[in-house]
Point group: C2
Chain length 581, copies 2
């Protein structure tokens, strides 16, 4: 076994071609081993095994800097740069994260999880190299899917004016998270079909050098191609053709399904823990909308599965012009939604909370300034959402709730979500964003008229103390209330604000009569969160207010309950605040 002897890129330098090929096979095996045991980004990593071996054979990392776009394809890189045990030894799996991380290794230069940033990062490093008089090479590796992001283009455009060593490897596996969308992909196809000779080459158009390699899994050719561009004195694109999921037939066959995988049996790809059962509430709400409204359009930025829009449904809606996947281009989706609404249509843009922040300007300046009735479904918001510091949803309230004109709704139950969605897509007064619950809770039929803004729901009426809890924390608040009753016989009040863009002043005023304490629970960051608005409301001293929420930090790999508990948000913690009353 060669991998055994590899503790860093220096150990790849003297290997023969055959040994490199064997190393690639062993790297892929290690990768498959970990993927099958703990899951992760499967397709992209399987597709760059040979490229990574070749890169570390030809370049001198960490002196030469390799920057992986999104960095979800960095597993082979980690295997070859001193972290193989996390892939080989199940007991050590947790030693690495799923993204590059400078804290793990000097071969990693950034924590990265969002798309289309590698070229600007590389340009920045190249510029400092020049100023400091160093001469290392800078390499950005970016996928074809990521090229749909505007920042990738901004980087290519800037690179077109830069003069110095910069190598941009376009890893073209003919796939984004889902299938690719955009005119760009016609060009990449034409380049693949002509061995890079097709006219109207976008990279050359932007002033970059360009070279094509069809055999993206052939280490000999990869090494040749990398050597040919290694010491380029101008930004040069090396466009290579690879296979997403390479080496696992089922992953090659269903590239969307295998973009990211749960633990699976290697022999046939069947899941270890059974097929996941996805909640269909969001998709069902979209289906109903489509049935009722011929001018409804659902938009996604490359993550249609997040909405449950799969298979037939996707094809059927797309054919009718009612489903648009813009690629990894949240800005375009948000602004296009504004255009649809302004023309009289009913757009719904579903987006993960951490990616919504990529369209903050478009939400504010296009949708909200123009006050267009766009419905935004904010997926995986708050502490129960994604858990990697690269993909946090802890600041959705901070990001959205201060923008004028928008109504930000926070359902506590499935029925509230459904009624809020009907309201949002049936009105033309406001942009409306809805926090889609991560954990669905059943409630009572909801017939609330949400056009009457800022009316909170009193979930339970008590006295002395009230907990104002975001929807996801209502169950915990109820538990706390039960515990308080058990211990003191006192019934406390539980309030679900439902509207995060305003406070229910009448209700807050009324509480003054028989309450002395209001505790607010934000399921995201506390600073500038929802709760502080309530503290501000009661600033006259008429009520004691305790704001609880998550601390201001890029939390990572956390357990939601533990992080909440550490923030004082637990039944015990809440009772401890309330019982002294």
């Amino acid at each position: 076994m060669i991998l055994e002897k590899i503790s860093g890129p220096e150990d790849l330098k003297g290997l023969t071609l055959e040994e490199l090929e064997q190393l690639a096979a062993e790297t892929r095996a290690a990768l498959v081993g970990r993927l099958s045991r703990v899951g992760g980004h499967a397709g992209s990593n399987l597709g760059v095994v040979e490229l990574t071996v070749a890169l570390h054979h030809v370049f001198d990392s960490p002196r030469d800097r390799i920057i992986w776009d999104v960095s979800h394809q960095c597993y082979p890189h980690k295997i070859l740069t001193g972290r193989k045990e996390a892939y080989l030894d199940p007991a050590r799996a947790r030693e690495v994260t799923g993204f590059t991380n400078p804290a793990e290794s000097p071969h990693d230069h950034f924590i990265i999880g969002h798309t289309a940033t590698a070229i600007p990062l590389a340009l920045g490093m190249a510029r400092d190299r020049d100023l400091a008089g160093r001469d290392e090479r800078v390499i950005a590796v970016i996928g074809d899917g990521a090229l749909s992001g505007g920042e990738a283009y901004e980087g290519l455009d800037c690179a077109g004016e830069y003069r110095g060593n910069l190598i941009i490897i376009v890893n073209d596996n003919e796939q984004s998270v889902a299938e690719n969308h955009g005119g760009l992909y016609g060009m990449l196809r034409r380049l693949r079909e002509t061995g890079g000779e097709a006219p109207d080459n976008l990279f050359r158009a932007l002033g970059l050098g360009y070279r094509y390699l069809e055999e993206g899994h052939d280490i000999r050719r990869l090494v040749e191609a990398l050597r040919a561009v290694k010491d380029t004195d101008r930004p040069t694109v090396l466009h290579i053709h690879t296979v997403k999921g390479k080496g696992l037939p089922y992953a090659e066959a269903d590239r969307e399904e295998w973009h990211s995988a749960a633990p699976f049996h290697v022999e046939d790809g069947t899941p270890v823990h059974g097929y996941p059962v996805y909640d269909t509430t969001v998709c069902d709400s979209l289906v109903r909308l489509m049935e009722e409204n011929r001018r409804a359009v659902v938009l996604t930025a490359a993550t249609p599965r997040a909405l449950g829009v799969v298979g037939d449904l996707r094809a059927r809606w797309a054919a009718r012009g009612q489903f648009v996947d813009v690629g990894i281009a949240e800005e375009c989706a948000m602004t296009m939604a504004c255009g649809i609404a302004a023309a009289g249509g009913t757009p719904v843009f579903g987006v993960y909370a951490p990616f919504l922040q990529r369209a903050y300007d478009q939400l504010s300046h296009d949708v909200c300034l123009n006050n267009q009735p766009v419905t935004i479904l904010v997926l995986l918001p708050g502490v129960f959402g994604m858990k990697s510091n690269t993909h946090l949803g802890l600041c959705d309230v901070q990001m959205i709730a201060h923008i004028p004109n928008i109504v930000y709704l926070d359902p506590a139950t499935r029925e509230e979500y459904l009624q809020m969605f009907r309201y949002a897509t049936g009105q033309r007064e406001h942009p409306v964003a809805i926090r889609v619950p991560v954990r669905w809770r059943e409630g009572e039929e909801d017939a609330t008229d949400y056009s009457l803004l800022n009316r909170a729901r009193v979930v339970r009426r008590g006295r002395d103390a009230a907990i104002v809890a975001m929807g996801s924390l209502i169950p915990l608040a109820l538990e706390a209330a039960d515990l308080c009753r058990e211990r003191t016989g006192r019934e406390i009040t539980i309030i679900s604000p439902r509207f995060l863009t305003g406070v229910d002043e009448a209700l807050l005023e009324e509480l003054k009569k028989d309450h002395q304490l209001v505790i607010t629970l934000d399921d995201g960051e506390k600073d500038s969160g929802y709760g502080q608005r309530i503290a501000s409301f009661y600033g006259d001293g008429s009520m004691r207010v305790t704001n609880l929420g998550i601390s201001r930090a890029f939390h990572s790999d956390f357990n939601a309950e533990a992080l909440l508990r550490d923030s004082g948000i637990s039944p015990e913690g809440l009772c401890a605040l309330i019982n002294p009353l």
Copy 2:
């Protein structure tokens, strides 16, 4: 006079070529009249007079929808769509804003002031047209400068997959706000030089139809070209060559100076109110940094003048690799700054507050998650900044202060700014953003060690009541304090928080001893602003807190003092809160 008879585009339909030409001349004269009297975006509007005449002759606005990117070039459009009096009659100048505005006219479809959104907006309108079974044409007009924005590319890419009528007019005047930067501009030049025939055409690469017109001021040819693309059944780019500032020799000669103009004498372009005197504090601070640090890099997204980096200085720094204009690509600038810092350099990105929001994700995910020592100069923040609803800086605190790792500094005086800048660019612990004062106030020499975070400055020590005021409002707070003293003999406390990313807990604790009221003054939006953190701190009822700030709305064309006064922020208003104590 033909313009006299034009009350809308329908009046252009029957005009002969000669009449159209005369109308263009009269439109330009009306435009020059207003520009010389009240100022505004000069160059871009002068460059699209003939295009606008031709568009309204060939198309049927408002049925056909013309969407102006940024919309700062919409003045001729306004003249020809029923709003000419605002250009001809000085007394009616205030009837129109400087951007398209649906409240003014059905010929305007959006309020737009940010770059690169027209193509996604047009795509949205086109999609709704298809679903609703209408058949109007949709036209997006976008400048060459705006094509450096990633969202323009995202729109082009999406358009490359769309099938239906969509006309994208690329108005190429060879200039952005300042000179163009990026590889893209080599391509546009090659296309201009070859009559559109050069190889590696980015538009064709993305799957769009393409046509070139050299004579962008020739109405006959414009009409021909527009007619040729009018009923296209696929997205088609019409690339036209125009002259920014066309018709005013001094504006044609200095296109950057004349991007936007103050009132001027038409005969020679000299300013009516004298040449403006720009404060050089920011530029001086950059000059000192450049002298001391060979690895400092100043970045701008197409607005180098905002930093005072003009003429020789710009050329010299750029030649040394220490000045980068990325084009209108804030995302790229922010991420590139992260790359520079990670490599060990010292990047400073200066950006207007309303445009910083275009790089929110890059600030959070690239710079702050990676905790890189990038210095961000936030220009024109708060209520004293820009006054158009398209360009507000009222939410910079909301946008920045909740992001982990960053330190957001708010100087009250010139000396504090200089010391904060020295701190920011001399440390490697944190990303630091500095609010650059709009109105400079002289203070005492500042030797504060800002590495000791969250220490507020007590500007004046009094008792009973304290005002915690953002830097720009310290003068007003002092006035209020003087007025209170005059009326009640009482000296009140004035505090400048200086750090907007944290509260000075020790100071706030100490205030409890001899104060009963803290009033906070945000010079931006109140909700989720700085002051609410103080209300949260005192939530235990140990202090009464009144948060004051601007209401949550897209305020426009306001007088800062009046808006503050209406928000309760005036010496009189503050005294009225304090005196009953």
